[in-house]
Symmetry: C2
């Protein structure tokens, strides 16, 4: 069986691994995200030094965005307009491919995580689903008939517009582009800015969680009305709060108001809006899944 | 070349036609939508009496919804929960298939119109696009990688939530399920209820059009952030207003705020948000396209 490499590139750290799936991650290293030169150099070194029984067939890169993930574009494989110092327009996939001399798969961290959830996690056997992550930012991916959405670019689900009652919540939103888009109202930094304390210190009975559930449910109703997904997977730091899943499910049902006569939503909502099957490993496993897809 | 039949079933009238595409619609009849028995009876009669050089290979039905368009469902081909008297749970596809003894294609009018635009109209050669119709209601369809979105059901894009500033626009919205969802704020009857006159009598410089463009653009930004479509086609009675396309394009760019660095949106918006290529014939041609897809 061939062996694959995976790179999960985040804003503060990079995880590199070698393996074939969730039950077989053979090596695993964390590298701080510093300059592109230093960081990519250490990624390349990790795979060059890896000595296994089999050689690597390919490497997958799941990275923070925005990226150019269109294989027909001249800047495919580049991080594009990120505010992260030094990283804008870095040809991360091209450099790694040239240095390692093997095929490289490439997509956003969110698209890769969705792919891993489809292959091994909460979306196994489900070809129409949404994967949403709610943390420092809000990102989303969706599969339609077995294909991840890639139109002009990858989805930017965090930036959809939702209702915002400024009388009830005068916070203007934290998104530098849109103010009170979904991410601007409901990402971790938005909670911290609104309530003056970090989301993970907000007590379970704090009104913050009801408002958070309302915003997330608003976003989900738009995703549902557009995609009618068969399942919605929600990950990220904010979703660790124990009350948030029940509150979101309840508000989604309330906001849809019985319009969609769909048993999954009306009767099986606990099985409809769910946590990731792969927990926090969906990113690095997504990178492995990208590598597999490239090699096959 | 085989010949196909198409049925465009609307709330007030049904159009039946026979042909192979936009340049070849050989017969064409309008039937008022009355009871299911009478209406379906007349549809069947039309096709039974049609005498052409070639026999019909199949018939496509593009109908008002909601419908069950999932081929694996026991109620596939049924109109489901429509408020239209007598039509709820009518097995329109099954009856026509049995009476005519030939394969029947079936989907919503909006999905069918999108299929026709893909085959012959404004989405030729474009495998990721949105088709939105703004009239008595707001309906939408989307193709992702060449496949129309069908998840748990067909899309219900009119019912997405959008920002609604009640200080600027105190109208509560016309949707019986959601009040101020996109359809509740921006469909034809919503305009009439808000301004006290029918949309087609509102003068070109009426403030209604700026507000309408704002709501439609809000909805489009959500569609764009989720699907990143390569083109958006907008049809329906409201889009006949001469100012509406330029206003919508302008507000979409403003609401996105330069976040998506995509030339199609930043530089070619006139070619990005466009009118249907098939005009008002996209419905009946969509039915013909459904028939072709079924026969092939």
């Amino acid at each position: 069986m061939p062996l694959w490499g995976g790179v999960e590139a985040g804003g503060t750290k990079v995880v590199c691994a070698v393996g074939t799936g969730p039950d077989d991650l053979r090596a695993d290293v964390r590298i701080p995200t510093t300059t592109p030169d230093e960081t990519i150099g250490r990624i390349v070194q990790f795979f060059q030094r890896y000595q296994g029984d089999e050689p690597l067939a390919s490497v997958g890169i799941a990275t923070f965005g925005p990226v150019d993930s269109n294989p027909n574009s001249p800047s495919f494989g580049h991080v594009t307009t990120t505010p992260k110092p030094g990283w804008a327009h870095t040809d991360i996939a091209g450099i790694i491919q040239r240095e390692l001399g093997m095929p490289v798969g490439f997509d956003t961290d969110v698209n890769a995580a969705a792919l891993a959830e489809h292959k091994w996690g909460a979306a196994r056997g489900i070809d129409n689903f949404v994967y949403l992550t709610v943390g420092t930012g809000i990102g989303g991916a969706a599969m339609v008939a077995g294909t991840l959405i890639h139109g002009l670019s990858h989805p930017e689900m965090g930036h959809i517009r939702i209702p915002h009652d400024r009388a009830a919540d005068p916070f203007v939103g934290s998104c530098p582009y849109h103010g009170d888009c979904l991410e601007g109202l409901a990402c971790g930094p938005a909670l911290e800015a609104r309530w003056g304390q970090s989301a993970n210190t907000l007590p379970v009975d704090h009104p913050a969680w009801l408002l958070e559930a309302e915003y997330l449910a608003s976003g989900l109703t738009s995703l549902i009305c557009i995609l009618l997904p068969q399942r919605i997977i929600m990950g990220g730091g904010i979703m660790q709060q124990p009350r948030i899943f029940p509150l979101v499910r309840q508000r989604v049902q309330a906001l849809l108001g019985g319009y969609l006569q769909v048993p999954m939503i009306l009767e099986q909502i606990d099985d409809y809006i769910v946590a990731p099957g792969l927990g926090t490993r969906s990113g690095v496993l997504g990178a492995i899944a990208l590598a597999q897809r490239t090699a096959s």
